[in-house]
């Protein structure tokens, strides 16, 4: 089987493509919509918005989530905001500028047509969310307020304090629950996808594990939508919630879906530093804080004085110094790398030396504590709870951490993967952010995919194809159940001496050191040797107590770690093959004299798409060439 990549980008000028495409997509007669079953996996912004919108149209929708309630998907934790090209502040924004900033911010590794469409629908998202009762911040006249975010010189970010993801998700969740109440959506929480069912080359169903009973349940449908988020937890420590995992995407990959750019992992500059070996996850401090916080380290190496004792003249506000026009609001990849440089120079702060300061003293002096509390109160409280330090009085200590996956399942313009009938939305797909995502663009993309893109493209898929009858009695479901049951059984039978978590930690440490903020040929090759060894050890020595026919959290973790141990190899291989620096992917061999990422457009202006070739065989590399007609690639500069 050889994979064919057809991005199905419509012809014509970039600003007309989506209109043209929407008109050309066939429609499903309203009376026929109820004959189509849609399976939506994941209930974050992408999944909840897609499921609600499709049910509103009249399709039969089943929704699956790992959590005990769809409202708990990890979109809930997004803090800072959501971008849109409303240009309410009259500061020069437009659809074209949002498009431009996103393509440039992604270091010219995203597909222009998709990004333009994202910018186009961004304004409708704000309208929709406001109508749902999302309590965005407002000005005294009652109109919506905006703030600025990294990588942009306009204020286009809408926000609900530091809880924007929560409020947007609860809006989408409300829309979803409305459909559930009407019986148009069937909700299946505490279910984890364990197999994708492909019949005659077309995705026709899934098998999920009921996490309470351990039972494997088969569900047939006419389309499967994976809205299962990113793979950041492969690194063990990340800002992702515990249940975020690569499982569903990885199963799809092994069934023939291309996986694009797995090495594009965003390392967010402002997270609370790790405090010890026991740490289970890292906590983000929103990028919005860089609107008012100033990032600095001592000028002198090894200066261990308390921050308040270091006089102004002995501080290095290095982002303001290096990037005067963007200052503290440079994009995330640039800010993370700069922090790493300071720390590598021995100028890190705090007990471990693995942190830089984010200081609000000037902003508090200028605006008053009440104003700062109004803007960021919940973030300051969160920091205080975690560290027992009061950021109104002492600067925050921050450090970069794995945060977001720009890579993901390859999708065409319809958000369909290389498996017909299998769609992928939100963070789980690869499409819009290139090699680096700008702040406040993840929420925009998740909701764009779910509210305003998939309702059209899934309809086109249904109307344009014939579907032989496939229900849960089809032998493909028995085979898929047997395969999933086999994996569970194998894990339970090892009865070794190490916990699943211990393997996950070992893998995470290796990835962070060898494939983290800076990568080089030697380190990547070393990781490629170590990962199979850890994997082998895992299958020989892991201990998973209890049974498969029960609520078994150790088993859940073991299944996910088994996936990480396979997926990580692809991630590292992708990083090795991309012998250029771009966005979040920094190859030490490819940098400018002042240590900025140096792209190689002649050789790497493409998305790398990996095809599974079978167990033990190296994956097959494909390329989707990227054409830039509307944004001319240049060396990205924020100076």
């Amino acid at each position: 089987m050889t994979m064919k990549l057809d991005a199905r980008i419509p012809d014509g000028p970039v600003e007309k493509k989506w209109d043209k495409h929407r008109f050309e997509l066939k429609l499903v007669n309203p009376a026929n919509k109820r004959k189509y079953d849609v399976l939506v996996v994941g209930t974050g912004l992408a999944g909840a918005s897609a499921a609600a919108s499709l049910a509103e149209l009249g399709y039969n929708v089943k929704v699956f989530c790992i959590q005990d309630s769809p409202r708990r998907a990890h979109s809930i934790a997004a803090q800072g905001g959501i971008n849109a090209a409303k240009n309410y502040p009259n500061d020069g924004d437009s659809v074209r500028r949002l498009f431009y900033d996103t393509v440039k911010g992604g270091d010219y590794r995203a597909r222009e047509a998709n990004v333009y469409r994202l910018a186009q629908v961004s304004n409708s998202i704000i309208d929709q969310c406001v109508a749902q009762g999302v309590p965005f911040a407002r000005d005294h006249g009652g109109t919506l307020d905006n703030r600025s975010f990294g990588g942009a010189q306009v204020s286009r970010t809408f926000f609900a304090r530091g809880q924007t993801g929560q409020q947007l998700l609860l809006g989408a969740y409300g829309a979803l629950m409305r459909q559930a109440g009407k019986g148009a959506v069937k909700l299946l929480p505490r279910r984890e996808m364990v197999e994708l069912v492909v019949v005659d080359g077309v995705a026709r169903g899934i098998v999920v594990r009921n996490l309470i009973t351990g039972k494997l349940e088969s569900h047939a449908g006419h389309a499967v939508l994976l809205c299962t988020g990113g793979y950041g937890n492969t690194f063990y420590l990340s800002t992702n919630a515990n249940s975020c995992n690569v499982g569903a995407a990885w199963l799809a990959y092994k069934k023939g879906a291309g996986f694009a750019n797995p090495c594009f992992t965003q390392i967010h500059p402002t997270c609370i530093p790790q405090s010890g070996e026991h740490q289970a996850k890292l906590t983000l401090m929103s990028e919005s804080l860089r609107n008012d916080g100033r990032v600095w380290v001592p000028k002198n190496k090894g200066d261990r004085r308390a921050p308040g004792d270091i006089p102004e003249a002995e501080r290095d506000y290095y982002l303001e110094r290096k990037y005067p026009s963007f200052g503290n609001l440079v994009p995330r990849d640039v800010a993370s790398r700069a922090a790493k440089q300071m720390i590598d120079e021995g100028r890190g702060v705090g007990r471990t030396g693995l942190a830089v300061y984010l200081d609000f003293a000037d902003a508090i002096k200028r605006q008053g504590q009440a104003k700062i509390a109004e803007k960021y109160g919940n973030l300051f409280d969160m920091y205080h709870h975690l560290t027992a330090e009061n950021p109104y009085q002492v600067p925050m200590r921050i450090y970069p951490a794995v945060h977001y996956a720009m890579g993901g399942l390859w999708v065409d313009y319809n958000l369909m993967t290389t498996i017909p009938g299998l769609f992928c939305l939100g963070e789980a797909n690869f499409s819009d952010h290139g090699a680096n995502r700008l702040g406040a663009s993840a929420l925009m993309q998740g909701l764009a995919d779910g509210y305003f893109i998939i309702p059209y493209t899934v309809g086109g898929w249904f109307a344009g194809n014939k579907f032989p009858k496939v229900d849960e009695s089809h032998p493909a479901f028995r085979a898929a159940e047997a395969s999933a049951a086999g994996r569970v059984k194998r894990l339970l039978e090892v009865r070794g001496k190490r916990t699943p978590v211990s393997f996950h930690k070992e893998l995470g440490r290796l990835l962070w050191n060898n494939c983290g903020m800076a990568r080089n040929e030697k380190g990547l090759r070393e990781a490629l040797e170590r990962i199979p060894a850890i994997r082998e050890e895992f299958w020989k020595d892991v201990m998973v107590p209890g049974s498969g026919a029960d609520f078994n959290q150790a088993l859940e973790r073991a299944l996910r770690v088994a996936d990480y141990l396979e997926f990580s190899e692809l991630l590292v291989r992708d990083a090795l093959e991309r012998r250029e620096s771009c966005g979040g992917h920094f190859r030490e061999e490819s940098q400018t004299p002042d240590n900025e990422a140096k792209r190689d457009d002649a050789n790497f202006s493409h998305a790398t798409v990996w095809e599974y070739a079978g167990e033990g065989k190296p994956p097959i590399q494909h390329r989707e060439p990227l054409e830039f007609k509307d944004v001319v690639p240049s060396q990205r500069s924020y100076a």
Binding site: P135, M177, Y451, P500, F551
Partner: protein
């Protein structure tokens, strides 16, 4: 942060194999923990030791570990989410305890939250209340331009205060009547305060209240335990607003009290 110091604490943990089986407290030693560890990281540590021995770890729900997803549902020394005001259980750190302390851990207790296993409970009742009316009925694509609906800043801020609810259910777990009125009133208030929510305020109040009763939650008798426990500082003034909205719907509107689940169109 200067805690190289370690300490030992004892965890008394509720273990229960399944919904229909009896539960009991088991005691575990958490040795060599540090004050900057979270309480959940101490549970992780105990679980790692259990797994190595081939024993089943303590089942507990947790996800974001930063106080926003609402997944964790532990009663710690008798208090849902533990002793810290305005924080969830996952935000609790061991600096709240000292060497030699015994910490008792149970699931959230409420009639409408049956235990699934150990410390995990079923809170789907809260989802069913939301399905009954916790939304504004607006289909995708039919929204007017966002700035065509001005909302006074103070109203928007007050709506946000109510909307901050994370749906954890601690209000019900702390209430002597196991009432979910704080949860319901937070959503009712958010929409009652916003012009967008006005069109179906009566139907919403009736439907959510009805579903809440069906799920077996008790009534409010002004104990205010919920407000003291709420990790997001949701105020009981919301409950007063819920009562007003409910009475308004009953006496000042033509909306009928729904007799069936879900929405009648």
């Amino acid at each position: 942060m200067s805690q190289e110091t370690t300490m030992d604490v004892t965890l008394r943990v509720w273990r229960q194999k399944g919904p229909d089986q009896p539960g009991r407290f088991e005691t575990y030693a958490a040795k060599g923990v540090t004050p900057d560890m979270s309480f959940f990281e101490a549970l992780d540590m105990v679980n790692e030791e259990l797994v190595v021995k081939g024993e089943e770890p303590i089942a507990f729900d947790h996800d974001c570990r930063e106080g926003i997803c609402g997944t964790c549902a532990l009663t710690i020394n008798g208090q849902p989410h533990g002793p810290d005001r305005g924080a969830t259980g996952c935000q609790l750190h061991l600096r709240a305890y000292k060497h030699g302390d015994t910490i008792t851990v149970e699931p959230f207790r409420a009639r409408a939250f049956p235990v699934i296993k150990d410390l995990c409970v079923d809170r789907s009742a809260l989802d069913r209340i939301m399905a009954a009316g916790g939304f504004i009925s607006v289909n995708t694509g039919s929204a007017p331009e966002a700035n065509s609906i001005p909302v006074p800043k103070a109203k928007a801020e007050a709506a946000m205060d109510s909307a901050a609810c994370i749906g954890c259910g601690a209000c019900a777990a702390s209430c002597p009547n196991a009432s979910a009125m704080l949860f319901v009133s937070a959503k009712i208030s958010q929409f009652a305060l916003l012009p967008q929510g006005r069109a179906e305020r009566e139907r919403r109040a009736l439907a959510m209240q009805k579903q809440m009763d069906r799920e077996g939650f008790g009534n409010c008798s002004n104990e205010a335990e919920c407000e003291a426990t709420c990790p997001k500082d949701i105020k009981i003034a919301n409950i007063a607003r819920l009562n007003r909205e409910f009475l308004r719907a009953v006496f000042c509107s033509n909306e009928k009290h729904p007799e069936t689940d879900g929405q009648e169109e």
